[in-house]
Amino acid sequence: MSSLLEVTDLHTSFFTDAGEVKAVNGISFFLDRGKVLGIVGESGSGKSVTAYSILQILAPTGRIVSGSVKLDGQELVGAGEKAMQDVRGNKISIIFQDPMTSLNPTYTIGHQLMEAIMLHTKRDKREAWDRAVEMLRLVNINEPEKRMRQYPFEQSGGMRQRIMIAMALACEPDILIADEPTTALDVTIQAQILELMQDLQRKLGMAIIMITHDLGVVAQMCDEIVVMYAGSYCERGTAEEIFYNPKHEYTKGLLRSIPTLDTMGRKLQPITGTPIDLLNLPEGCPFAPRCDAAMRICIRQAPASMDINEFHKASCWMNVKALAETEAALEDDGAADAAETPEGGDAK
């Protein structure tokens, strides 16, 4: 069974005066129809560049170096601009992070919505208007006819993000990429937008790629999670696996560093150091310089992706160590138990 979207070993670099910035460095994941995939990571970890690479809307200095992006079996890398225009908006659409700057201030809401609709479907102006109004109603905007004639500055942040969603969904895409859709919004408005996205996803049956650094949002929304660090994934798997059974030191660090009910009164355990310089990627595991459990091998050789179980992959040498130790301890029991080995002791 092939997935709706398959990204394999994707490398994207920006060629700047200072050298090659390897923003995306061998990421692989797949997305099934009707699922929600979360991509989490710090700023600069390559989340957004991954999304832009899928749609090939990179800045002029950026280029996909190698790898493949398959949509429904069709290869997109090297497919040409014309084919991509057919994909963008029609099959895959995107909501950007900042609703304040992603709408054109000099055109009315209606104009911008209808432009997308008329470009991608065979509707004429009249039909496009009706469709635009219908979309605004779908995203719970009151008085849609009035809004159509208004300009972006007349809308609040939450309203603008709704308009962006309406625009992205107008051509019924199979995949919606949401690049930090709620980061610029307040919690109460964020709740409204997340509720709306979940609702629409159920109604329209599309797949969503949710890019965010908010682990709370991911936990509430996503079926599958990809944790990114320095341009590649350090761990991916189902939401339950990632949250309850993290197998990469970075993921564990991230989960430890968020303040929750349990951490009250105790000190947070931050990840030490600062994010990595993408101009000079180290030879070994990119997280090794910040990792408390780093071993000698981590600095010399980057770990390959390892299967923890059917739903879970991680790129961390700790798993090999755990694997080896458990195997020594219980000779007959194999990999299944290794996944359950408590790693607190190993880390020391």
Partner: protein, 353 residues
Amino acid sequence: MSIEANRIAADAGKLVYDPQYILMVKDLKKHFPIKGGMMNRAVGQVKAVDGVTFNLKRGTTMGLVGESGCGKTTTGRAILRLSGEKTAGEVLFNGREVYDLSHEELRHLRTKMQIIFQDPFSSLSPRLPIGEIIGEAVREHKLVPKAELDDYIDGVMDQCGLQPFQKERYPHEFSGGQRQRICIARALALNPEFVVCDEPVSALDVSIQAQIINLLNDLQEEHDLTYLFISHDLSVVEHISDTVGVMYLGNLVEYGEKKDIFDNPLHPYTKALFSAIPIPDPDAKMDRIVLEGSIPSPADPPEGCKFHTRCAHCMERCTHSMPQQKEIEPGHFVVCHLFDDEPEVEDAEPAGA
């Protein structure tokens, strides 16, 4: 303040200084005029802060939460007298009305009350080396002898997790987390008693955020600092605060011990706000109370209770009469008509007195 002066203040219906509180704020209002029309007259008022009352104990942290535009930052700045004159109310810092101080006295007081701004990228001068940024105010206020200044700055930097050899570097050479450390060092160098932290971690990544929160905690313990911690991130506020105030459209709608506020939120807005936080746990069941609409404009706030346009429990009287602050349990204050039905609470004493 003498006992005599206290009695006079109490008779005049003013705040009575209680030494356990470093900061006492009563009914603070800060309105900004909207200029317009032919003569550039004030045609309206943006009621950014419209009645905020709380007391802050020495050595504790008060979290101030609310949506953007609810007046959190303006409250912080008004307490420090950073945005001109107040419109009404009282701000007692160590028993002295901040707005009654002369220029010279205020200048002196500035060393005692500091602020850490939200954005570490725009709050540092790009043209000064960081040693100069941190030491400038110390030198200006002559807090340490000239000869010891260098060592003093080294010490402050060390406390804030910066390396003294970085003194000659410029802000652009630092990452966001380190810049925030510079901002903290700058505030701390003056040896303040009270620091307003205006969204100090909002611009930072989660992994860096935790480092800064721990740093603030350590510094508080060492120097017995009092923080007013402004943030819209409720989980951060929950982690760092002793007391929590919830603001909506210029009003402090609920205020109390952290435990009371988080375990037993009373105001409908607080409940909605807390239910909207996404919990980082895929199995957590969410009973999200999704508020309709968005926050009204502070230039034209609704009459009566300002929250009534979005409140699920809106009653008739909410639309025309403004509720008063009530103490529901010791130290837990709420401003909501829902609690009017409680057995008559004598409201004769000013809240928190």
